[in-house]
């Protein structure tokens, strides 16, 4: 069904309210049908006229036949029976013409053109009223049928043919007179039914008229209901579908996007230049340019955006079929259907998403009897969620099924030799889940024809990483699994970290960057070597390193003193990239790499930075592969295990975030830290007696540890460092005065000396450090924090004890 051609985008040229009305009144499918049919009809007019000159052209006839056939098929499907009847008559005549049973003559052409006009009229009615209305169609059908009956090569007498033709349009709606053949100006005689029968020629038609010596019959304008653009605001007229959206070539949009990218860069340079000149008038103009550019950029990006519903809409069917096939009861919930994504990205997300959904139905959600036995609702819930977060679109596929058992994943991995026991000993649960993305890895107990054949998750990951996104999984045994795809909004503009290495600047896609570490040359924490491979001890774990200068074959710069490590994540590996300096985070416009340089492999593109210099964008995946050598050296040496054991002896292995509150040092277990942020003081607002900040579109309750612990607060600076803790969509902020360090906890130095708000104290780094009672602190910020989470858990999974029995 040719509803949507893949290539052209549809761009809305309408103000939103117009579109709103249309969407309200017309089903989306009908709207698509209308737009497409209008386009087809214009094409038909041209084809028919051309046909008169080349009556033998099979090609033209077939094309016309196909178009009419399409309209007929769709109108039958949409239950527009009058439309179907008219097109059916036309189709019969056309099939005879196409098969050579009779040849094209003036009468047939007239009849067909009139049929096209009738179709147009009917479409206009459908668009306006939603139904076909009472338009007269009999005479046109007769005229067409007449051509079939006697058109067997024997030309009819011209007057005879002309006579019925002018007569018909006079008593009939869509102004279907064949101007070429009819000398009388019947065109103006339009009695009642046609809504606005002014035969105003539309610009679109002029070209076809110009091509053809025989003027195409025109009357009912393709756009129904007052197609004149200069309408007075008398009645709340809405624009027709054909006018409110146009089809645009993707290349044109790409070109626009490129130009806007250039404009953004030029604007950046201009803004930078003007800020140094202190000319108020010029500054104002620049600011305005700044605003307009941003808006323009946004609008152009929007033209490429389509709601994720486009791909979601197919999933209910997938879920329904699969669940009945597999004997599951599943409710599919969708949140954030309207979240928009660049169209090309949407395409790339489609297959991975479908795979995740199938996987969730097959392996995530248990059969109803198992669920009942576990005390869950026999009907499982599969939730699709899409939302914006930090310049990315997050798409989640969450089920409330059995969850993934990390032990089983681990043992499967051991059996398959994917990992060694030593490696396993060092892995955290999240690392174990990452194994699911290894090629050929499946823990499904049995292979079904739906999933479990070991193809899949690795492909999902590869496909998502190809478009600069990431895949994560989070699972609680017995409660369910959430797969999370983080996808860039667009491929053309990305957030990037700029770094410097051997005096050149390079850009790293921000999505791959986990954290940044500064290796202070004066401290004793340094880059070490294991069997010649460089590593760094990051919170007790050995992080394999890649020196950017070495990788790029540049002379080695500093001797690993005072350098930065960008901790990157790609291809399921974490590694550190050693660079000379970290410069900035900025939005960059991605430019393709010159063909000449594509074979090198280390670069994924190039860009122009704010200062106009060209910078290369590093391909993190390719760097990750290079980190393999260092990683393997670490494996071989077994040193990583030693360090882990050594650490196990020295302390509990828990990590603490040390903060400064007043003159005191307060430690927060790192497990309870979701993010560290810095809020500017004027961002802190109030709700009643509470302090809050707006954070990622939500209101985040904020509590100052100084108040809570009765410390003497220092003066507020311009900004406040904040520890954010999030769980199941709820977050709180704990404001401190200073972030001091992250250290390993060591049990020996603990003391049970405590005070309100604390769980004890310890000597850390030769100083007494208080251990924060985080639960209490969170409650001080948000009394309902844990209730809400428990409630969430109750709704979505039942009691934890019952679950673990599954």
């Amino acid at each position: 069904m040719p509803f949507s051609q893949v290539n052209p985008y549809r761009v809305d040229g309408t103000a939103d309210e117009h579109r709103e009305t249309n969407v309200d009144e017309l089903d989306d499918i009908v709207q698509e049908f209308l737009v497409e049919s209008h386009e087809n009809l214009d094409q038909l007019d041209r084809d028919l006229v051309a046909l008169e000159q080349h009556p033998d052209s099979r090609e033209l006839l077939s094309s016309i036949f196909r178009t009419i056939h399409t309209i007929k098929g769709t109108s039958g499907f949409l239950a527009f029976h009058r439309l179907e009847t008219v097109t059916h008559a036309g189709e019969s005549l056309l099939s005879r013409l196409r098969d050579g049973a009779q040849s094209m003559n003036v009468e047939s052409a007239n009849a067909l053109l009139r049929m096209v006009d009738t179709v147009r009229g009917l479409l206009a009615q459908i668009e306006e009223q939603g139904v076909e209305g009472e338009m007269e169609i009999q005479s046109v059908i007769e005229q067409v049928t007449a051509c079939i009956e006697d058109g067997s090569g024997k030309p009819k007498a011209a007057p005879a043919a002309a006579a019925p033709a002018p007569a018909a349009p006079a008593d009939e709606a869509p102004a279907a007179e064949s101007a070429a053949e009819v000398p009388e100006p019947v065109a103006e005689v339009h009695p009642e039914p046609e809504p606005e029968p002014e035969p105003e020629p539309e610009p679109a038609h002029e070209e076809s008229a110009a091509n053809a010596p025989v003027p195409a019959p025109r009357g009912g304008p393709p756009g129904p209901a007052g197609p004149e653009p200069g309408e007075e605001g008398s009645a709340p007229q809405r624009r027709s579908v054909a006018e409110s959206s146009i089809r645009v070539d993707v290349d044109l949009l790409d070109a626009l996007m490129r130009l806007v990218g250039e404009l953004v860069l030029t604007r950046n340079q201009l803004v930078r230049g003007v800020s140094e000149m202190s000319d108020p008038a010029l500054t104002r103009t620049t600011q305005r340019l700044n605003l307009i550019t941003s808006e323009l950029q946004e609008s152009v990006m929007k033209t490429r955006m389509q709601p994720i519903d486009q791909i979601w809409s197919k999933l209910p069917r997938v879920v329904r079929d699969l669940s009945s096939q597999l004997g599951r009861q599943i409710k599919l919930a969708m949140e954030g259907k309207d979240t928009e994504l660049d169209r090309s990205l949407l395409e790339s997300v489609k297959d991975p998403l479908t795979h995740l959904v199938r996987n969730a139905v097959d392996h995530g959600i248990e059969p109803p009897d198992v669920r009942r036995a576990a005390g869950k609702n026999p009907e499982g819930t599969l939730t699709l969620r899409a939302y914006h977060e930090g310049g990315h679109v997050v798409v989640e596929v969450a089920d409330d099924g059995a969850g993934i058992d990390p032990d089983r994943v681990a043992s499967t991995a051991l059996d398959r030799g994917v990992i060694t026991r030593d490696q396993l000993a060092r892995m955290e649960t999240s690392d174990i889940f990452q194994l699911l993305f290894q090629p050929g890895f499946s823990t499904a107990k049995k292979v079904t024809n739906v999933s479990g054949r070991g193809v899949g998750m690795d492909v999902v990951k590869t496909n998502i990483e190809k478009i600069g996104g990431t895949v994560d999984v989070d699972s609680t045994l017995g409660r369910g699994t959430t797969w999370r795809l983080t996808i860039p909004l667009t491929l053309a503009i990305i957030q990037a970290l700029t770094v410097e290495c051997s005096t050149e600047q390079y850009a790293i896609p921000q999505i791959a960057v986990d954290e940044l570490v500064f290796v202070d040359g004066s401290s004793d924490k340094n880059i070490e070597h294991v069997s010649g491979a460089p590593v760094y001890r990051l919170r007790g774990k050995l992080l394999p390193l890649v020196h950017l200068d070495e990788t790029l074959g540049l002379p080695r710069g500093s001797n690993d003193k005072d350098v930065y490590i960008a901790v990157l994540q790609a291809e399921g590996r974490r590694f550190g990239l050693v660079v000379d300096r970290v410069l900035n985070t900025e939005e960059i416009v991605v430019k393709p790499l010159a063909t000449l340089l594509k074979d090198i492999g280390v670069y994924q593109g190039s860009t122009i930075l704010g200062d106009g210099k060209v910078a290369l964008i590093l391909d993190v995946q390719s760097l990750a592969r290079r980190s393999l050598l260092a990683a393997q050296a670490v494996e071989r040496s077994g040193l990583a295990v030693d360090s882990q054991q050594a650490q196990g002896r020295a302390g509990s292995g828990n990590r603490l975030l040390i903060t400064g509150v007043g003159d005191r040092r307060v430690a927060v277990p790192l497990d309870m830290v979701t993010r560290l942020e810095e809020f500017s003081v004027d961002k802190i607002e109030r709700v009643g007696s509470r302090e809050v900040v707006q954070y990622r579109g939500r209101i985040l309750p904020l509590v100052r540890l100084a108040h809570l612990l009765g410390a003497y607060p220092a003066e507020d600076g311009d900004s406040v460092p904040v520890v954010v803790y999030s769980e199941r969509g709820r977050s709180v902020a704990l404001a401190v005065e200073k972030i001091v360090d992250i250290v390993e906890d060591s049990v020996e130095t603990h003391s049970d000396l405590d005070d309100s708000g604390l769980t004890g104290s310890a000597v850390i780094q030769q100083r007494v450090t208080e251990m924060l009672d985080v639960r209490q602190a969170i409650l001080a910020a948000d009394v309902n924090f844990f209730d809400a989470i428990d409630e969430y858990a109750d709704n979505y999974g039942g009691g934890l004890e019952e679950m673990s029995a599954v």
Partner: protein, 150 residues
């Protein structure tokens, strides 16, 4: 008698020319971004009014040492299969109109890298102008990169 216009330039004291229709523009440029790991004939990347393109050092293609990219160089920007690319040359010359009948295929005695890069030669009054095969000049650069890697 058909005639063609050529943009001429000098590399290693030798006069070259490319078909005027292929030349986008000619300009002096001084800021090049190094491309580590690229073939050594790639002088760097330039930003020409928002368009990023690679600059190929023709001298290297002729077997000379790479030029000093920290100094300004002359760029002849040509359009090769839809992609603009810059050719780094020593000196820019005139646009000349040449008659087809002064054209000769490369002499048999000509050997080495030069032979691969030219279509033929035009006899001017005072000297020879070698018609550069821009496509080869650009693409054998990436071919050479592969060879070097082996």
């Amino acid at each position: 008698m058909t005639s063609r216009q050529y943009t001429t330039f000098e590399v290693a004291n030798q006069l070259f020319g490319v078909d005027v229709a292929k030349v986008v523009e000619v300009l002096r440029f001084s800021e090049y971004t190094r491309v580590p790991l690229a073939d050594k004939s790639v002088g760097g990347l330039i930003n020409l009014r928002g368009q990023v393109m690679a600059a190929v050092d023709l001298g290297v293609r002729l077997g000379l040492e790479p030029r000093d990219m920290t100094k300004p160089s002359m760029n002849v920007i040509v359009n090769e299969e839809g992609e603009p690319i810059s050719l780094l040359v020593d000196k820019i010359g005139d646009v000349v109109e040449l008659q087809e009948d002064t054209f000769e295929p490369p002499p048999d005695t000509l050997a080495g890298p030069l032979r691969e890069l030219i279509i033929g030669a035009f006899k001017l009054d005072s000297r020879l102008m070698l018609a550069l095969d821009a496509k080869r000049a650009v693409h054998s650069a990436s071919g050479a990169a592969k060879t070097a890697a082996r």
